[in-house]
């Protein structure tokens, strides 16, 4: 099991770009579908959903390096924290999931595919 998480982690660490995020999502959903016990399936679901949302926003449109860097800086630590929490208790896990969701909300406010001017 840890090998599968390592594979997701190393793929994620390659960075935020469409082809790679599609791969991250695919790995998470593949593991989620397997008949194995995963301590926190919400981790895989959250990472896959986050990656899919970014892919849909970035696919076939010009994404400036500035926007790609910002989104990666805001979300990468949260997704890495999710992958690291496999052995955490439910309360800690829930807190990390909340932080990831809140960060994604912030990214949406600032713009997922462009730089929105913040008032």
């Amino acid at each position: 099991m840890s090998q599968r998480y390592d594979e997701i982690r190393s793929t994620l660490n390659r960075g935020f770009f469409v082809d790679n995020l599609r791969e991250v999502s695919s790995l998470c959903l593949a593991l989620l579908q397997e008949d194995v016990v995963v301590s926190h399936p919400a981790v895989l679901f959250t990472i896959a959903t986050t990656a899919d949302n970014i892919v849909r926003a970035w696919e076939d449109v010009p994404i400036t390096a500035k926007t790609a860097d910002r989104v990666q800086k805001q979300l990468m630590p949260q997704l890495q924290a999710l992958l690291a929490m496999a052995a955490s208790d439910s309360l800690t896990a829930c807190s990390i999931l909340d932080k990831a969701a809140a960060s994604f909300g912030q990214v949406l406010r600032q713009g997922l595919d462009s730089e929105r001017s913040m008032k």
Binding site: R14, G15, F17, V18, D19, N20, W58, E59, D60, V61, P62, I63, T64, A65, K66, T67, A68, G111, S114, E115, R116, S117
Partner: protein
């Protein structure tokens, strides 16, 4: 092709090139799907989804099709980049008294129902042309070529609007003998080097900064 037809084709391509520079070419650091960074990007939908652009693309692609040894039964490609090109060519062909059907290839099979990959799949053995807007690594074109071949189509040619000269051409030519990009990056190098382009991410581009137009 007659000399007058060739002159008309050249005029069409010149007008289309100018429109691509004005509307599609974007300067500035852009993150591509592959993760690579580029100092230019072609957002071809700004042209393919405009009335004038669709007419020019329809004519330009049709000129290339007329030079093929066989008239295709259908024209198709991977959704969404190919979709407006397919429509433009179909309509343009009809205006010239010719018929050509369209099909598009889904990126993934339908999750429910028929699970079909190709919408409006041509009859087995049909000669078809695959189109796309921009070629980088050639992945989108090859996905469409593979799906069409699996459906029993014969690929007469691949016609694209712009080839970014990043290796896609070699991969396509390994699968299809007749690969015709209307333009390559070389046709735009002078515009890129001179910054001769209204859309620049290093300046304020409302289409990229999210501001309202």
């Amino acid at each position: 092709m007659l000399v007058s037809d060739r002159m008309e084709a050249d005029h069409t391509k010149q007008a289309l090139r100018s429109m691509l520079v004005q509307r599609s070419l974007i300067l500035g650091p852009i993150t591509l799907s592959s993760g690579a960074q580029s100092n230019h990007y072609f957002d071809c939908k700004r042209v393919t989804l405009s009335s004038e652009g669709a007419e020019l693309i329809g004519e330009a692609v049709l000129h290339e099709i007329q030079d093929l040894p066989e008239w295709p039964i259908a024209i198709g490609g991977l959704t969404h980049g190919a979709d407006p090109i397919i429509g433009a060519v179909m309509m343009c062909a009809l205006e010239h008294g010719k018929r050509i059907d369209g099909f598009y290839v889904r990126k993934e099979p339908k999750q429910h129902g028929t699970r079909s990959v190709i919408e409006n799949v041509p009859a087995h053995g049909s000669g078809v042309v695959i189109v796309d807007d921009v070629v980088t690594g050639g992945g989108s074109v090859l996905q469409a070529v593979t799906a069409a071949k699996q459906a029993g189509c014969r690929i007469l040619a691949v016609i694209t609007i712009i080839d970014r000269l990043e290796g896609g051409a070699d991969r396509i030519k390994a699968e299809v003998a007749n690969y015709i990009p209307l333009y390559t990056l070389d046709d735009f190098r002078s515009d890129i080097e001179r910054g001769n382009c209204p859309r620049d991410t290093t300046k304020s581009d409302p289409l990229l900064t999210g501001a309202s137009l």
